[in-house]
Symmetry: D2
Subunit: 256 residues, 4 copies
């Protein structure tokens, strides 16, 4: 098994402001996630919003195979330069796991190409049942038929996302809504997994099945060991002979 | 049949600079496309780069059901404000037909969420055969099994686009490459069709089968007559009764 | 608008056996569906299981653009010859709308290529909410954000179907399950829409929004006016010249 | 790494009838494929048409994680009982790699749900270039941007298959056609990969890049180590309490 290098990024604001949340995640949400990923023997570091360059320097990203992203209230504080940097790394094969309210992050919206910040929501500590739709998927291994979360924030359709490559989970909410809670995309060489659960006021990331999904997703999203990087751009010489001489090209026109 | 209002946008630079191109498209590429769309009884206007706001004012876009986009050498001259305006209209249901080198336009790249400007290319006036992959699709009606273009610019895979919703055409090029030449996406309420052919130095848009594809695509991309616009955002009242009182919400925490 | 010829097929057993069901559908489920389709000006006939050849003779099918299918308790009574006949017509472009327990019909299973009879179910007259996932789709026009059915049979995931081309509706059930209630496929030249609601003991097909979905689906599934029928099979003469003489073919080997 | 058990199935008729083919594959096509899979440390057995039950007894299939299938001229000789047996194993998670003319096999057609035997073809020993479309896919690891095969049989679109889950390869043929040469599907719990190359009169399976694709595909298609097998069927007890007593069920009606 290749050694996968993970960076867990967290806004890390709620945990510093509310004692109730700090009690759930004393090391921050990033600390909780990093801890259970380390149990898998992965090489894990963390980064947070208030660090210089949000902790996501070019050097850190170049050493990151999979980036896990949790953000909620301060998406606008993430500077565009870092967003662009993460984007380029995804194009080049870095995996990206976007959690919960990360659906409205700049990076996820940029990769979606649509207003993925748009959805229904309600913060009422209601029941959520995550139904597994695709048990043959690598992310689903060891995950039960359904996961019942006793208290979660509700997210409801219509979630303004592109048609997913894979639909892994659908959520049922007590108040009557449904949601596509686990979806995958490929962008460039990068694999992306959005996973809905994880409101900051509930101990969702302590749930072993939720942890299993994230652990599987990190392995799934890691870049392949030998991805062909096609030489794109101008290809002057064809592989096969052309039947005519070149004619009437813009290059010729520009010379005349 | 609803009255579809089309705006054909063209960079309109090549035609003004090169007599050889002007002879092919004396009214500009936009003029050629507008003319054959008008034959279908559609309400068509045109807009070009060097007009104020590139001819795409808020008023024009609000009166546009489908926008056709041709650009090549001056993508960077399109100002971000207009790109954002077009994007918002696509989210709200405006159809978008992106032609040829429009793959590298700011608006298509933003909607793709990936580096769709990346592909192989060669300007050698070689043969292209467009193969129809999905004859049951509305865009394919009246289109033959294949379309042979005697001279075209080559675009080759890997084309860095998201997995398409529908794959309508695959191109064969004489020099050995292949390309996904007709692909669809939905973004928000807007339908998008990218169609590859149409290099400015060849009379591609005078070809009746190419015209048929674009004419069909405009009808396909037009917004539906009665699209549900879900009220998204916060939904305080659930449709179904909740079993518990609300507790531990961030709103409560923020009050304390 | 082309004249669409619809055949509504119904098992028509429940209605003849139970007074309670007959009161809901005095003309049979097929009679109810045919009536609201006729209001759209469509040309509609009906056919039922106990008719000769189940009412689906070759002549009837050749005059059918879209077939609507409702069956529940007698899937095995449908003879294979008729299933094969329907299948060939779908390959050739006939649309197919499969309703409710038609998911377990021979024809839908054959077109899925998977055990689409497998799902969770419960007959408890519980609430169902159908959420519209794809408001830009032709089948969604005029359909509200959600449809609440006060009493329905529950169908729950995992529904063993192929990845749908389009996902139109997701259902929420009071007892905690979710279901992909509106999905599309293309098979050959034929378009297929599966739509979940319609248990025989409830007046679901009298609901105007359910009717709207079926009416839209019929128009969507009707074969295009001019579908290319590619000449498949052996193509001795290539479109482009080959660089070498033919050699070492099985045809040659078989002669020696 | 789990130990993957592979069975390579081959019709094994051409090799016994034509010396020219036997020289290419002295141990049969199955022997060639088995040999390079064994180099990966996989546990490989072979089976052929003329063995009892075509070598695919229930016992063999139960011990098979991935089945590789090559057939061409004798699809009709494969008895339905064995087809059904293979089908059930795919539903239960066995991977299936279908090669070349296996597109017209009973098992692939049954899993497609469409007339996948339909396509264009020409046996003219022409050049084929396989272009890699999805370099991030597990099957693509270590595979170059393109693979040039100097002589192959041509298969051309329209290939009557369902929309693939993933599109891995597109083929260019010298005579002007294109083809979706590498496509994936999921059916039930089983993963399926169709891979086009491999006409019996050419040494295609000796090509190291073709071998790489098949070796990767076997690992990709192997069933996951812990797939949830949902208990489907009737679910009398809901997860969540229902608001009303059960009423008007068919069960009740049948009692009265």
């Amino acid at each position: 098994m290749q050694d996968i290098r993970v960076t867990v990024w967290n806004e890390y604001l709620h945990e510093t402001r509310h004692e109730a949340i700090r009690q759930i995640y004393p090391e921050g949400i990033h600390g909780c996630i990093a801890a259970f990923l380390r149990q898998d023997g992965l090489s894990v570091r963390t980064a947070t919003l208030r660090e210089a360059e949000h902790g996501l320097t070019q050097a850190v990203l170049e050493e990151t195979d999979v980036l896990v992203w949790w953000g909620h209230m301060a998406h606008q504080e993430v500077v565009d330069e870092v967003v662009e940097r993460v984007y380029r790394r995804v194009m080049d094969g870095m995996g990206l796991i976007v959690l919960h309210s990360g659906h409205a992050s700049k990076i996820f919206m940029k990769l979606c190409g649509t207003n993925s910040d748009q959805l229904k929501w309600r913060e009422a500590a209601e029941k959520e049942i995550l139904w597994l739709m695709d048990p043959a998927h690598p992310i689903a291994q060891g995950v039960p038929d359904h996961i019942l979360l006793p208290h979660e924030e509700m997210y409801g359709e219509t979630f303004i996302i592109p048609k997913p490559d894979d639909l892994l989970f659908l959520s049922w909410f007590e108040g009557g809504e449904v949601f596509r809670s686990g979806v995958t995309y490929t962008r460039g060489l990068g694999k992306i997994f959005y996973f809905r659960p994880g409101h900051e006021t509930f101990p969702t990331y302590h749930h072993k099945d939720i942890q299993r999904v994230i652990r599987n997703a990190v392995r799934w999203a890691a870049p392949g060991p030998a991805m062909a990087r096609a030489r794109l751009g101008q290809v002057k010489e064809p592989l096969m002979p052309l039947s005519e001489q070149r004619e009437n090209t813009l290059e010729q026109l520009n010379r005349t």
